[in-house]
Amino acid sequence: MRIKAKIMDRTATFLLTAIAVLIIGVLFALLGFLLTQGWHKLNFDFLTSPPSIAEAGGGIGPQLFNSFYLLVLTMLIALPIGLGAGIYMAEYAPDNRFTRFIRLSIEVLSSLPSIVIGLFGLLVFVTMTGWGYSILSGALALTVFNLPLLVRITEDALRNVPPSQKEASLALGISKWRTITSVLLPAALPGIITGTILASGRVFGEAAALLFTAGMTSPDLVFHDFSLNSPTSPLNPMRPAETLAVHIWKVNSEGLTPDARDVADGAAAILVIAVLAFNLGARWFGTWLYRKITSGTQR
């Protein structure tokens, strides 16, 4: 009997280790392939010059900028809503039918395929508003796409703060709101920030939700033009903006330049590096912030 258990134990350990190794192997193979394929394109010129339509040698400058700008705009809209909803769900929502319905809605929203959100965005943020393909439409579509995740992140981070913290604060006669802002949120901040950076990585790499909202073209940006309403200004939120992920899709499927494959490889490498940086950065920053907050060296 004991020998049998031992064999089972060994087998299970072996199998689970094998699965873990397999996952890591796939990850490294994928990363290695993308990076070696795109490595030779990674130079300053490729990262800053605009793409060309027919001849070789175009870059991904505007697309790279668009990706970051869209990310910032999306987070500017989504974060306050996500934080507010997360705080409500964690601290205020009573356990009743209404809040169970909200929770269900959030789950449904988070499981919607992003192409469907893109089509919804096309209908509401592009057509009904009359804005056309624009960064703002794209940002709103990505907000819809990301909101469930942000609500979940905030709610979980707040719930993971030990209840004794809340009890301590309330027992000192601190009001509920002040307890949330001064005790619970700071303690939850590392979790919220880590989660937000991970969500940012998702936004950065998203393509399907943007095809019909931020559009598949980008004007030739004039990077010293900062007026918000000029069509070639990089900051104009009402201009169409093809992002890096969308660009990869487009170049691969309908690129006319002879080096279309190279451009797609380079762009994919950049995208992967950026998403990787978001993930590792989230880890590092979360740990750093947690240490900073718990050691309380503010002032």
């Binding site: 601190i174 005790v183 700071p186 309380g296 060296t297």
Partner: protein
């Protein structure tokens, strides 16, 4: 001074018919008790006897528990506090509480103490610094932490953290301190420090302490109340309760027959 002696005799907390229900379950059954000013009152009794529940109704912490209902009257200095008309922030400032497990905020030592006074209206930086020092001195912690006030409170030892929690409560300038088994998670030396502190603090505060440790109750309290199954069986001066209890059940409990 005569006023103080006068006050030392009188009652600060008076409950009548105080009952607490968790949903359908009655945790405390119609307790009538008077608690003397500037004295240490210890609550003893087996687990689940209602002593912590009683303690937590005095600063209305039971309200945090869903489906918890508190009926009856709690008068503090003649004012009925078991009523929505009393602002809960003010009540909890007057009736401070320290928990079984030290629960310092994830903040610096200084911020742990300054947080509540700042909320309750002490804004001036010099005043706050003075208050922090005074509170830490009263909690017998100042000498150990004065050089690292801005380091994390989580780096302190368990016993130091518990004294920090006491300092944090004192800093609100309460008149009553509720201690819910404050030493049960600590080593003997830290426990001794907390006990010395409690005896020291009763000069200025009315102290109510829940304890599992009968010796602790005997060592530090002036009055002891024995709870059993949600009822107050007996409350008497500590020496009297331990030497000549009036109720058979009290005698059985303190002589170790059950519990």
């Amino acid at each position: 001074m005569t006023v103080n002696i006068q006050q030392a005799q009188d009652t600060v907390i008076k409950t009548s018919d105080l009952s607490v229900f968790y949903g359908q379950k009655q945790a405390l059954n119609s307790v009538n008790m008077e608690i003397e000013r500037h004295a240490v009152t210890a609550f003893i009794g087996p687990s689940g006897c209602g002593k912590s529940t009683f303690l937590r109704s005095l600063n209305r912490m039971n309200e945090l528990i869903p489906n918890c209902r508190v009926t009856g009257s709690i008068q503090i200095d003649g004012i009925e506090v078991n009523s929505d008309a009393i602002p809960i922030e003010g009540l909890r400032q007057t009736v401070g509480m320290v928990f079984q497990r030290a629960n310092p905020f994830f903040k610096s030592i200084f911020e742990n103490i300054a947080f509540a006074p700042r909320f309750h209206g002490v804004k001036n930086k010099a005043d706050l610094e003075e208050l922090v020092e005074k509170s830490l001195r009263k909690a017998a912690l100042w000498d150990e932490v004065k050089d690292r006030l801005h380091e994390s409170a989580l780096a302190l030892s368990g016993g130091q953290q518990q004294r920090l929690c006491i300092a944090r409560t004192i800093a609100m300038q309460p008149s009553i301190l509720l201690l819910d088994e404050p030493a049960s998670a600590l080593d003997p030396i830290s426990t001794m420090k907390i006990e010395e502190l409690v005896v020291e603090l009763k000069q200025e505060y009315t102290i109510v302490i829940v304890t599992h440790n009968l010796h602790q109750a005997a060592r530090i309290s002036d009055h002891t109340a024995f709870f059993l199954m949600g009822e107050l069986i007996e409350k008497a001066p500590t020496s009297q309760l331990f030497t000549s209890p009036q109720d058979k059940r009290t005698e059985d409990y303190i002589s170790g027959k059950f519990g």
